[in-house]
């Protein structure tokens, strides 16, 4: 890990919903190209933490954040930083697939390009759409019907479409918020396979309910409990020899 650059680092990050303190001063470095999984029981603040990393938490009316998040050394919470610009560099995929229903498959993938700085020509767009769909392992299934409605796809395909949409703008970090929670086992497998393939290329932080999933696809795993970061370690180490008794209790299924 020491030879890897740190892509993203959260430094004593706190987050609130109104008066509810959901995330307690969490610090977490994320090495470039790695997959970091965040696990923990429902309501432990893992999704909220994730949403602080691309300044989405503050879009909730009562949401408030303090602390720093450094993306390639630059604090995204600096006063001069535009949250919209931050989100262009940090892609996000949600629990439920969110294809834009009025757009075709192609336009869905290209949706993020339309708000990028500088003009992207039609040909460039086509090339980017194809490469994003290939990287999301969806190209072969949709190449003959790029003009069809994105809603015509299955749930798993829709989720991979959303990943393609996030990848199309070449984000520096990809945030996945329980991306397989609403998918069937086969689709879950295809998304997991995709995360494994993107490893090394894209820095990925994935929140998951599913410990086996974290074990299968991540390099490092962080265990959250009641707003605290209990432990973060290389995935194998965390699951085989957790240093904190609470982590052990959780991964052995004593609560959850």
């Amino acid at each position: 890990m020491s030879d890897q650059r740190t892509r993203l680092v959260a430094e004593s990050l706190d987050a609130w919903f109104g008066s509810i303190h959901a995330v307690h001063g969490i610090s977490l470095p994320v090495p470039e190209g790695s997959v970091v999984a965040i696990i923990g029981p429902s309501g432990c603040g893992k999704s909220t933490f994730l949403r602080c990393l691309n300044r989405m938490h503050e879009t909730v009316p009562t949401g408030r954040v303090s602390g720093r998040v450094l993306l390639d050394g630059r604090n995204i919470y600096d006063s001069g930083v535009n949250p919209i610009a931050v989100r262009k560099h940090i892609g996000m995929v949600f629990q439920r697939p969110t294809p834009f229903p009025t757009m075709s498959i192609r336009d869905n993938v290209a949706a993020g390009l339309r708000v990028m700085d500088g003009h992207v020509s039609r040909r460039e767009t086509d090339e980017i759409v194809e490469s994003a769909l290939r990287r999301a392992a969806l190209w072969d299934e949709v190449k003959d019907r790029l003009g069809a409605s994105a809603l015509a796809l299955s749930g798993g395909q829709q989720q991979r479409l959303c990943i393609a949409r996030a990848l199309a703008t070449s984000p520096r970090v990809l945030l996945l918020d329980e991306p397989t929670a609403s998918l069937d086992p086969a689709s879950t497998q295809s998304v997991e396979q995709l995360v494994r393939e993107l490893r090394g290329e894209v820095t990925i932080i994935i929140v998951t309910h599913n410990m086996q999933q974290a074990a299968r696809i991540s390099d490092r795993t962080a265990f959250f409990l009641a707003g605290d970061l209990v432990e973060v370690a290389p995935t194998e180490a965390l699951f085989t020899s957790p240093s904190d008794p609470r982590t052990e209790a959780y991964i052995t299924g004593r609560f959850g």
């Binding site: 969110t98 229903p101 009025t102 959303c162």
Partner: protein, 305 residues
């Protein structure tokens, strides 16, 4: 088999009494059900009866006067046979076009604001007041338009008529837009924001487009409602016996022409009034049908997932 064993057992007296009561109760329930069904079906038929009756009557009275000339010719002076309402048909299209140009952007904008700023005091007041405005008698709207748009200028105009009708459309469009925008899942908004869309762009390109089918329906329904309005136009567009397409001049409109002809003492004009009413209702019917078609999905691949 246990089922067979149960069946061979003789039912007790109590069980027999219960099933006997159930049989009697079933008969009564069936009867009540039948009666209620007839009552409700009658109510449903009565709902559309006026439309059927009106259409039938209009066709009977007006169809004979409907010919090509009705659509292409100007009104003739009293006593001369024939003549049409070309100016009123074009006038109505111009006035409702103006009403759309004014009512659509304001109504949709207001609806988007109401939906996106739920709970804000301004949104709550605007929502309440627009409901009040929705119930405002159209003649009151006409008087106001006359006071503020006709009197200062010194003469009636198509524009003032368009503004009066547009103002009537705004609350309807705003409320439909609000309802439709609310049905757009918050997850779509989040997805757009997460892609780096600004809030205004999310509203315009993602939320409004997703809700567009419903909004189009609402706009067309409100258009159909104001297309037949007469009272506001009496004070604003005023009507015109001559050909005019100028939006700064008084302009003919179907409802006005129908009104003028119907209260006249001439049989020729009465017949034309019936024909005009038939055309007006046909226009509204067409708008309503377009509204229905517009709600269909825009992709032919189906919307299921």
């Amino acid at each position: 088999m246990t089922a067979g064993a149960i069946r061979t057992q003789r039912p007790s007296a109590r069980q027999r009494a219960v099933s006997e009561r159930a049989r009697k109760g079933l008969g009564r329930r069936r009867a009540v059900n039948g009666v209620m069904l007839v009552v409700l079906a009658t109510a449903a038929v009565v709902t559309v009866l006026p439309l059927v009756f009106i259409l039938f009557h209009l066709v009977a009275k007006g169809a004979t006067s409907l010919d090509i000339a009705f659509f292409t010719h100007m009104p003739k002076p009293v006593g001369e046979a024939g003549g049409g309402m070309a100016n009123a048909i074009v006038g109505t299209l111009i006035v409702i076009g103006l009403a759309m140009a004014f009512g659509l952007p304001v109504g949709v904008g207001a609806g988007l604001y109401l939906a996106e700023n739920r709970g804000a005091w301004l949104a709550n007041s605007v929502r309440f007041l627009s409901d009040v405005l929705n119930g405002l008698p159209s003649i009151v709207m006409g008087i106001f338009a006359w006071q503020f748009l006709v009197r200062p200028v010194g003469h009636f105009s198509a524009l003032s008529g368009g503004v009066a009708l547009g103002a009537m459309m705004i609350p309807m469009i705003a409320r439909t837009t609000e309802e439709m925008v609310r049905t757009v899942p918050a997850s779509l908004r989040e997805a757009a924001l997460a892609l780096g869309y600004a809030r205004w762009r999310t509203g315009l390109t993602i939320v409004l487009r997703t809700a567009s089918a419903g909004i189009v329906t609402g706009v067309l329904v409100s258009l159909a409602r104001v297309a037949g309005e007469t009272a506001p136009l009496l004070f604003t567009a005023f009507g015109n016996q001559f050909w005019s397409t100028s939006i700064t001049q008084p302009i003919a409109a179907l409802p006005l022409q129908i009104f003028n002809y119907a209260i006249s003492p001439y049989d020729d004009w009465h017949r034309l009034a019936w024909a005009g009413a038939l055309v007006l209702i046909a226009l509204i019917l067409v708008i309503s049908i377009v509204a229905r078609v517009a709600t269909r999905a825009r992709f032919d691949t189906g919307s299921g997932d």
